[in-house]
Each structure stands twice: as structure tokens, then as C-alpha cells.
């Protein structure tokens, strides 16, 4: 295709003799650039588009032809895969569980991190800088190191889905995600809080504002951009997490989030693959909406987290 486009251009340029050779080269490379950009982007979207089409195709069609054949007549589309997988599996329950896990596991670490970041940024206490340094170090520690001791602590103290009352069954995952999410949240927020102008704090103090007033009325409102990106980041992180959920509630279908249920379906549906595509798309639904509507904050969070590091 690029060859055809390239061959086409010089012809048109030749008829318009007033155009210089540089202009032609410029136009040519422009065309090649657009083809490369659009081509790469399309290639990148093929896997997603493929699974989207497959999830709406009937079983026989999926088995006999590739998803791209759905683009030509006869156009066979159906909702069967969705209705079957939703009625035969635990996906509905898991969808609810994903919310029950993700929302508190987003709120708790970010609130606790905001308290701590405020102290790290604007209070003086012994060993402050060393403790902060330790938190930066902990950022890289593999979570794997913590699984066995934390799990045996939970089991020994009855903090397991089967031992806890309904509604609190998610407690082990909430607590674990809080511990695991804190270092990054503290790091990000402390950097942001520290960048706030110190005059704000001095004048607030002169006006007699207490610590709480400064925190809730000045620091938090000014940090909405940082908080927003952190919330989105943490929410997507937890919604998409498989490992932590597997470890702490993996054996309990009543409490398992979408990722765990989907992974189990992958292992059990050897031949029912057409249903799996629908299940996968169902699990992508919420993160894609969050991402598409709040993309700006998400990207900003990623930049704050890595460029400063």
C-alpha cells in the first residue's frame, strides 16, 4: 500500500513543475509517516477488535472461520455468548465482588497515605527522612515476600472469608491492598504536598487554623488533581489484580472478583472458548469506561509516579 501511494505522488508533483524537489520529498515522507502511524495503531487494535467481534458471533461461526469473516455477509451476530456465560457462571456475583473489593481498597490506602504524606511533608519528627527513604525502598519489594506470613496471620486470627460475617468477608483483601498500595500512594502524595507553597501554611497558622482545618480545607482541596489520578490508578490496579485476590480469597467463589473467576473459566472452558471471549469483554467493561472517561488523570498519575522517581 505504501508503494502504491509513493508511486502516485511523484506523478502529480511532476505535472506541477513549480514544486521544488524538497517539497516533493517532504510530501512523500509525510504520506509515509501517516501510513506508518495509522498502520501501527490499527495493528495494535487488532487483538481487541478481534475479541469484541468474536464475543458477538455464534458458536458455529467462531469454530469455522476467523473473526474477520464477520465483516462480510452473512452478518451473523448474537448475544448468546453473553447470556450463556452470565447465566452459567459466577460472573454476576464476581462483578459485585470486584466493586466490594475495589472501592474500599481504593479509599482506605489513599486516606491513610494522605494523612502520612501530610506529616512527611509538613511536620517535624525524629527519623522522618529515613522513614521516608525506607518507604521509597519498599516500593520495589516483591509482594511475594509477604504472602506466607500475612496469610498465616489472617488464618490464625480468623480474618478469612469463611470466618468473617457477610459484608466483612472482603476484609483480608482490603487490608492486604492497603498495605501494598501505601508506599506508592505516600510517595506520590508527599511529593505533591511538599510542592504546595509554604506561605499557605504560615498564613493559616497566623489565622489560628488548626492542623485539621489546614488538612481538610487547604491541603486536600489543592491536591484534587493528584488525588484524582491516584484514585483512578489504585482503582484500576485493584480491579485488574489477580495475584493478591488469588492468595487471600482465591478459594472462595462467593468473594472472588472478576479476574479470579475469569482465570478459573480459562482453565475449565477448554472447548467453550466462545463463552470466554464474552466473559473477558464483560470484565473489561468497567476499566475501559473508567479509562476512557478519566484518561487525562490516569496519564497524569503515571507521569507523576515515574518521571519524578
Amino acid at each position: 500500500m505504501s508503494v502504491a501511494a509513493a508511486a502516485d505522488r511523484p506523478g502529480t508533483a511532476a505535472t506541477a513543475a513549480r514544486f521544488s524537489p524538497q517539497w516533493i520529498v517532504g510530501q512523500l515522507s509525510g504520506v509515509v509517516l501517516h501510513i506508518a502511524v495509522i498502520g501501527l495503531t490499527l495493528a495494535w487494535m487488532v487483538p481487541t477488535i478481534g475479541i469484541l467481534f468474536t464475543s458477538f458471533r455464534p458458536f458455529t461461526a467462531i469454530n469455522s472461520s476467523g473473526w474477520w469473516m464477520a465483516l462480510s455477509p452473512p452478518f451473523q451476530f448474537t448475544l448468546d455468548n453473553y447470556s450463556k456465560v452470565l447465566s452459567s457462571s459466577n460472573l454476576g456475583r464476581s462483578f459485585f465482588n470486584s466493586f466490594m473489593i475495589s472501592i474500599p481498597a481504593t479509599i482506605i490506602p489513599i486516606a491513610i497515605a494522605a494523612f502520612a504524606a501530610y506529616a512527611f511533608a509538613w511536620m517535624k519528627f525524629p527519623l522522618r527522612d529515613w522513614i521516608f527513604l525506607a518507604i521509597v525502598g519498599v516500593l520495589a519489594i516483591p509482594l511475594q515476600l509477604s504472602f506466607v506470613p500475612v496469610l498465616s496471620f489472617f488464618v490464625a486470627h480468623g480474618i478469612t472469608p469463611s470466618a468473617l460475617p457477610p459484608g466483612l468477608q472482603y476484609l483480608p483483601v482490603w487490608l492486604a491492598h492497603t498495605g501494598y498500595g501505601l508506599p506508592f500512594s505516600i510517595y506520590l502524595l508527599a511529593n505533591f504536598f511538599r510542592a504546595l507553597p509554604s506561605e499557605l501554611f504560615e498564613s493559616a497558622e497566623i489565622d489560628g487554623a488548626g492542623t485539621l482545618t489546614v488538612f481538610f480545607r487547604i491541603v486536600l482541596p489543592l491536591s484534587v488533581p493528584a488525588l484524582a489520578s491516584l484514585v483512578i490508578f489504585q482503582f484500576l490496579w485493584i480491579w485488574n489484580d489477580l495475584l493478591v485476590a488469588l492468595i487471600y480469597v482465591g478459594g472462595e467463589p462467593e468473594v472472588a472478583p472478576l479476574t479470579v473467576t475469569l482465570a478459573n473459566l480459562t482453565n475449565s472452558y477448554g472447548q467453550g472458548y466462545h463463552l470466554l471471549t464474552a466473559a473477558a469483554f464483560f470484565s473489561m467493561f468497567v476499566p475501559l469506561i473508567v479509562f476512557l472517561s478519566l484518561q487525562r488523570y490516569f496519564v497524569r498519575g503515571i507521569l507523576a509516579g515515574s518521571v519524578k522517581g
Partner: protein
Amino acid sequence: MDWGAVLSGIPTLVVVIVAVPAVLVAYIVGTEYLVRLLPDAFRPRVRPWIWVGPALVFVFGFLILPAILTAKSSLEDSTGNFVGLLNYQRQLGDFPTGGAWIAIRNNVYWLVLYTLVALGFGLLLAVLFDRVRYETFVKSLIFMPMAISAVALGVIWKFMYWYQPPGVTQTGTVNAFLGLFHVQPQIWVQDPKVDNFAIIAAAVWGITGFAMVILSAALKGIPADLLEAARVDGAGELTIFRRVIFPLMMPTVVVVGTTLVIFALKAFDVVYVMTGGNFETDVLANRMYKLLFFSGNQGGAAAVAMILLAAVVPVLIFNLRQFRAVEARR
């Protein structure tokens, strides 16, 4: 689907959404009132610990203390008897294919290929997209896989790599595409010759957007007059990229690279979903999971976790140095 169960759960969800923040606010407001009861001189000494306290308890209790306990249990058998380095010997003694060596080899594949290919693609896309007006749009399309779970990513790519015997219509995108060039279909995720690369390619597809977004931001930070000056001096676009753009982006490339290295070492979900670690695709994180839950071998699992830690330590030291350098410039 049991929508009934879901609907009946909604009140619980609402209660949790209201109660959790209420407890957190109550903690900080309540303790602050207690602090105010203290004599003036004590307040500044007590107050910081109340604000950092919960965070320290969690970080210590969920990360630091467990890491120490894991280090200890890597030297014990499953009943808690001290066995010295036996667990490590079992994992590392049987070079090159026994114990943890397959997983270590695959983590090295991940480390090198995943990091370099994602960086390379990210840089290429950032530079290309910088030159078109619809940049934001194409960038968000490339970035989209970042929003979906690695489990969904694994399902998507299992389907991309779907295999039918030769002669039958190939329904998997990759094999069908290769068929256009008369290449025999491959069993991508079960053939030890190619499966690691196939899985890493899938993971790269997911993470390239991350590298691209950060590198693209760094690219935008390069002053335009610097590039203009180079062009006036007659430098070609390639020379400008090699001599001006790339050196200026180097710090960001290093930061993105270290993040990718950590991701590569922790690789788990994609492998778990696509092969479960079979067909010689095991990685350390998955091996640890299997030792723990299927073999009940706590000491072995702890030893594998410690190997993972040893691999992360250089990155950890690098991060700390980097952090202190940034602090020194403040």
C-alpha cells in the same frame, strides 16, 4: 446469572462506601481532639505519629515484617525446623533444567525482551506520533490495553494464537496471517521453542502504551529551539534523534526501564492465564504460587521469593540513589 444476589448485595456496598471513609475521618478528628487535651509542649511531639502511625503499621505489618519472616522461613522446612540452605539447594542445585532454573531462565527472557522491546516500541511510537496532529487520539488507542486486566489480556492473546492443524481453516489471527505467506501454523503457547516469546509479545502489547506515554512526555519537554538550531546547522532527522533527542531522553528511558524491569521480574498473571507455567513457560512468581498452594512447600516458596528479592535489590538500590540525588537538588 444470580442478579438477585447482586441486587441484595447493593445495600452492603452502600454501607461500606459510607462507613469506610467515616471511620477514617473519625480516626483523625478523634485523635486530634485527644491531642488538644495534652499540654502545649507535648502536642508537636505526639501529633506527627498520629498522622503517620496507621501508614507505618500497615507498611511494617504487611511488607517489612513479613519480608523478614519469609527470609527466616526460607531456612526452615514446612514444620519450622531449621534446615540451613536446603531449600535454596533444592531450588538452585540442579542447573540448568531442574529446580527453579527454568523459571529463572524465563525471567531473564522477560527481563531482556520485555524491557527492551517495550522501550523500543514505546520510543518509536512516541517519536512517530509526535509528528502528527491526531496524536492524542492514536496515543489513547495504543494506551488502552493498560486499562484491562492481565487476565483479559491473556484470554485475548490465547485467542490470537489459536491453533488448528494444517489444512483446517485457521481461526487464530496470528496463524491465519502467517498462512497468507504459506507459513505452517504454530502451536504458539504450547511449543517450548516459541511459547515464551509468544507470551512476552502479548505482555509487551499491553505495556508499550505505558512506555510510550512517559517517553512522549519527555520528548515534549525537549526545547524546540534546540532542535531548530540543529536543523539550521544542517543535521538530518536521524542525526538529530541520535545526537540530541536520545541523549536528552536518556534519564526518562532509564526510569521507564527500571519500572519495566520490576514488572518483568514480577510477571505472573499473563503466564498463569495462558499456560499456567506449563510447557517450560514457568516464571518465579508463578513457581512460588504453585509451591505454596499446590505443593504446600512453604520453605521452597519462601526461597523462591528470596531469589526474586535478590533480583530486585539492584533496582532497589538504584531507586534509592536516584531518589537521594533528586532530594539533593531540591
